[in-house]
């Protein structure tokens, strides 16, 4: 869980930084998107690096879901008779919602790819013109799309809050002081990532990016 999670987190950071380029204007953003297809050239043919990256990410997602499924199946098998009265003692909302939160994030990722990568669910969906697609996607009259993105990104934030701490712990974080630092770092990282992702749709919604 920890190793595949870290790979996905690295992608999330790169993706967020790429998104923020939308504030540098249409030409720069579209140029950046075009460059993503040219990474590795001329060593590799055009878009090869992109496909290598996509394959690695897909493998990481599948391994992450596989490990989570094993844990969920083991947890179900480990308690065949349920409690009649069960209380959440520690009450970490993020830790309790990891499994269903993960399912919500997966469904969002599928929608997101159909929306802004392939363009099938996008009102414009013009290949090679991501700036226009994003602006059309988060237009004020399509407020429900922005709402759905916001909910999905907040779900991702909760997932990261527990997931990042849990990854530190799984990879051997072992002191009480380090635990406090790891929890604070996970919370800070989740908040920064949420903010970085949400600023784009809200900039379009408020007309800052048009």
């Amino acid at each position: 869980m920890a190793v595949t999670g870290i790979l996905l987190v690295l992608f999330l950071v790169a993706h967020m930084l790429g998104n923020l380029k939308i504030f540098t204007g249409e030409t720069a953003f579209d140029h950046y998107a075009h460059w993503l297809r040219e990474i590795g050239t001329p060593l590799l043919p055009s878009t090869w690096f992109l496909w290598i990256q996509r394959t690695a990410l897909l493998a990481a997602v599948l391994a992450h879901i596989g490990a989570a499924t094993v844990l969920a199946v083991r947890a179900r098998a480990a308690r065949p008779v349920r409690y009649a009265h069960r209380k959440k003692v520690n009450g970490s909302y993020a830790a309790r919602t990891m499994r269903w939160g993960g399912v919500i994030i997966l469904l969002f990722v599928i929608y997101h790819i159909l929306d802004l990568t392939t363009g099938h669910l996008n009102p414009e969906g013009v290949p090679g013109r991501p700036y226009g697609n994003v602006v059309a996607d988060f237009a004020p009259e399509r407020w429900y799309v922005t709402l759905f993105y916001t909910l999905a990104v907040v779900a991702l934030g909760f997932h990261l809050r527990h997931g990042a701490f849990s990854a530190f712990r799984s990879l051997g974080q072992q002191t009480p002081a380090g635990e406090r630092r790891a929890r604070a770092a996970a919370l800070g990282f989740a908040v920064v990532l949420c903010a970085g992702y949400l600023v784009v749709p809200f900039a379009v919604l408020t007309g800052l990016v048009a």
């Binding site: 083991r74 008779v81 009265h85 003692v89 830790a95 990879l171 072992q174 002191t175």
Partner: protein
């Protein structure tokens, strides 16, 4: 105090079991929780009914025998306390209290509130020992131990093996228990020869017993009557990673 109890009754391992409601009147707030159950059992015996079976031994919070899920809390609402040290002043007159056994596949119910915690013994047997010369006790000062290590090892050694960590874990994992039993030895110089075979053996025994996997939710440490910290599991994880990396070079593994 007058209380309504809903208690899990199960005549044996094969019985399906059910929650049964009992009324207990005139309970003193100074009684311990187990004394309150004793009062109920005396009345059940007098009226010719089968008394409620529950585990108990020292009744001073150090043996680890007692263990009840009380209103969904392992060992009841008071933190850092075993069920035998829980007093009825924690409850109010007229309360309804749900009492259930620990729920885990690795802890099958023997009768009513008594579960079989043999799985913990199997984990201990898989690595809870050190290579020590027999004979007279060695001079205590001959092996220096850093104070911080001694303190951390002692906080792990405080585990009484009651099983509350498993009962509270949403995954039914016994990782806090396993981590306590691994680190109480791996932090000390005497535990070094078996350090890496121990952690692999004990985690394997844990998984074979049918416990779930740890997802670091922290429910275990919140209910632990001895306050074993969650970072104990981090120490186990670090040893486990080192052990799996070194395993090829370990004779007998």
């Amino acid at each position: 105090m007058n209380l309504t109890l809903r208690i899990w009754r199960q005549s044996g391992p094969a019985d399906k079991g059910r929650m049964v409601t009992y009324q207990v009147d005139d309970v003193s707030p100074d009684m311990s929780f187990l004394e309150m159950l004793d009062v109920l059992n005396e009345r059940l015996i007098l009226s010719g009914e089968e008394p409620v079976a529950f585990d108990h031994d020292c009744r001073e919070g150090i043996c680890g025998m007692c263990g009840l899920m009380i209103n969904g809390d392992a060992h009841g609402p008071q933190r850092g306390t075993t069920a035998c040290q829980l007093h009825m002043r924690q409850f109010s007159d007229g309360d309804t209290i749900d009492i259930e056994p620990w729920r885990a596949r690795a802890f099958p119910v023997i009768k009513d509130l008594v579960v079989n915690r043999n799985a913990f013994d199997k984990i201990i047997a898989a690595g809870g020992y050190i290579t020590a010369p027999t004979g007279s006790a060695p001079e205590a000062h001959s092996v220096p131990v850093a104070k911080a290590d001694a303190d951390a090892a002692f906080s792990s050694a405080a585990c009484i093996g009651c099983g509350a960590c498993v009962a509270a874990c949403p995954n039914g994992s016994g990782m806090l228990f396993t981590a306590a039993k691994v680190t109480q030895l791996s932090l000390l110089p005497q535990g070094q020869p078996e350090r890496y075979t121990r952690v692999v053996g004990m985690v394997d025994a844990h998984d074979e017993a049918g416990f779930g996997g740890c997802t670091n939710t922290g429910e275990c440490t919140a209910v632990c009557p001895k306050g074993i910290p969650l970072n104990t599991i981090g120490r186990l994880n670090r040893d486990y990673l080192a052990a799996t990396a070194k395993r090829g070079g370990t004779p007998g593994s």
